[in-house]
Subunit: 322 residues, 2 copies
């Protein structure tokens, strides 16, 4: 099986390729080849099969066509302009998140005798406030960002292209990935990870919102697990509804902090500095807080059950020498 990973240089992409290389199979089918694609350089990796790396701009004319001409059997499409940038640069967001995704689907459609499996990462950003207490599987999409709009549109396209028989797709609405490794960044959601990741290594972190803010989390390991599980699944069980809200852990910032205290002690918690930021509070107030992802549960998808588990995954995967 030949797997194409688009967005292989991103945080999830790198972890996904590592796992695919380690397991050398998806759902019992051996991997013979991986093509990694990204706009940025991807780290070197050794595998028991061929790994090719292509760097380019997915929105450039001919790029999706050239990737699809390789006729991968399974495609993970993780590439996206993130929320903040898509809001700041309207044209760039639509060019990458919508037009390039549509061009990829079209390249697949016009390829003769070809119907690959396509696993697409969508986002809970397809939802926009006001919400009920917990968002059910049949709740409507009213995104409050261009990024969320582009993800919701890509979901609709993937469903239609699947229904028409051009591909065999699934769109996975990822929870917020936490603890995100790396340096603090300027994403409005960054603090959810910062207040855990930084204190764990003795560094201070800023909390810009109230302790009572509730949000929906899963670890990077769980997120990669969702991708691989979808890759292994017989997608016909999804019927004509190929979009899935994934499980996550709904917890408040206060619960995150108590989990940090139980795992790393008071000294870690004391490194969190409260600096309320009206702008971030306003953005976060429009985000989903909780879901009832019954369908994903019934299909066997599982996220962490406690925030302590999420912290332990971070310690094992990021802070423990291999």
């Amino acid at each position: 099986m030949h797997i194409l990973v688009i967005g292989a240089g991103g945080m999830l992409g790198v972890k996904l390729v590592k796992r695919l290389v380690r397991e050398a199979a998806v759902g019992g089918t051996a991997i013979s080849r991986i093509t990694r694609f990204d706009a940025v350089a991807t780290p070197e990796i050794a595998a028991g099969f061929a790994i090719e790396t292509v760097t380019g701009d997915l929105s450039a004319v001919g790029t999706p066509e050239a990737l699809i001409a390789r006729r991968p059997d399974m495609i993970f499409h993780l590439a996206a302009i993130v929320s903040g940038e898509a809001e700041k640069d309207f044209e760039k967001g639509y060019r990458i998140n919508l037009a390039a995704t549509q061009a990829l689907l079209e390249a697949i459609r016009v390829q003769p005798d070809y119907r690959p499996k396509l696993i697409f990462t969508s986002s809970i950003a397809v939802f926009g406030a006001p919400f009920h207490d917990a968002i059910g599987d049949e709740f409507f999409t009213t995104p409050l960002t261009s990024y969320g709009t582009q993800k919701a549109i890509a979901e609709l396209l993937l469903n239609d292209y699947t229904r028409r028989g051009f591909l065999d797709g699934i769109a996975l609405r990822m929870p917020t990935v936490c603890v995100r490794p790396g340096k603090p960044n300027l994403a409005a959601s960054g603090f959810f990870s910062n207040i855990i990741r930084e204190p764990l290594v003795g560094l201070p972190a800023v909390l810009p919102v109230s302790d009572q803010v509730r949000h929906w989390h899963a670890s990077p390991r769980a997120a990669v697990g969702f991708l691989v599980q979808a890759g292994a699944m017989d997608l016909t069980v999804m019927g004509s509804r190929r979009t899935l809200t994934l499980p996550g852990l709904s917890c408040t910032v206060a619960e995150q902090i108590e989990a940090l205290r139980s795992v790393a002690g008071n000294a870690a918690v004391e490194l969190i500095r409260r600096e309320p930021d009206e702008t971030i509070m306003k953005i976060v107030s429009g985000w989903p807080q909780n879901f009832t992802p019954d369908r994903a549960h019934a299909l066997g998808f599982r996220a962490e059950a406690t925030f302590e588990d999420i912290i332990r995954v971070h310690i094992e995967d990021e802070l423990t020498p291999a």
Copy 2:
């Protein structure tokens, strides 16, 4: 006020322009000019203000830009490739219903110091079975046709372009328009109108589905009323959720037939010939049957209350000499 009607040659477009000409105002603002656009010729009409007619292909490069260069204050976008044709010709459906609509929004966005009101006709085809008994305002969109997919995507785009301040839009999910004037056509939904329109003038009609099929109807007059009412509304009351499921009448084919009997007698009903058609039955089984359009009701939108009313509207508007 300058009004642009895109799709002015269609059934609703012709009726809308007639009403605008008759009333010479929308929401108390006088109309100074109407531009009619369609791919097909539009009938001549005399008005107390300028009416210009442009014929062309909305998906041709430069067409949306040329229309928007006229800087209309209010735009009714009714143009679409209908469901059956969009299913048969995948590329044409996406070209007109998605790409051309997107090009129209882009032409508006890049026009300097410009923020027109845009009234877009969406459809209950954004929904796809299985359903609950009645579809609420927060139910998700899972279209089972490319047409429904294209309408759902256009709704999302209109919402995002409105949120970003490029236009002031509303997407109206129209019920099935019944009784549709004109000749019987090959649309799968045609029989809902055929079984009323034809017997009223002494002609036979074919009923291809069971009497128990339930569907969601409004008259052409009500549909035009929805458009004009949306044009007159202060759309800021919609907040960031600019898509509205409109009221309709939920009734069974049996109820339609009894309404025909009460208005036109047994002789009319006897002109209905039952010829079950498996293909049409299968298509219709995926369609919505009933809604609870609470939001539109609260905003004052009203459809007919009985199917007798719908028949009487048809008799007044289509069978009564002016």
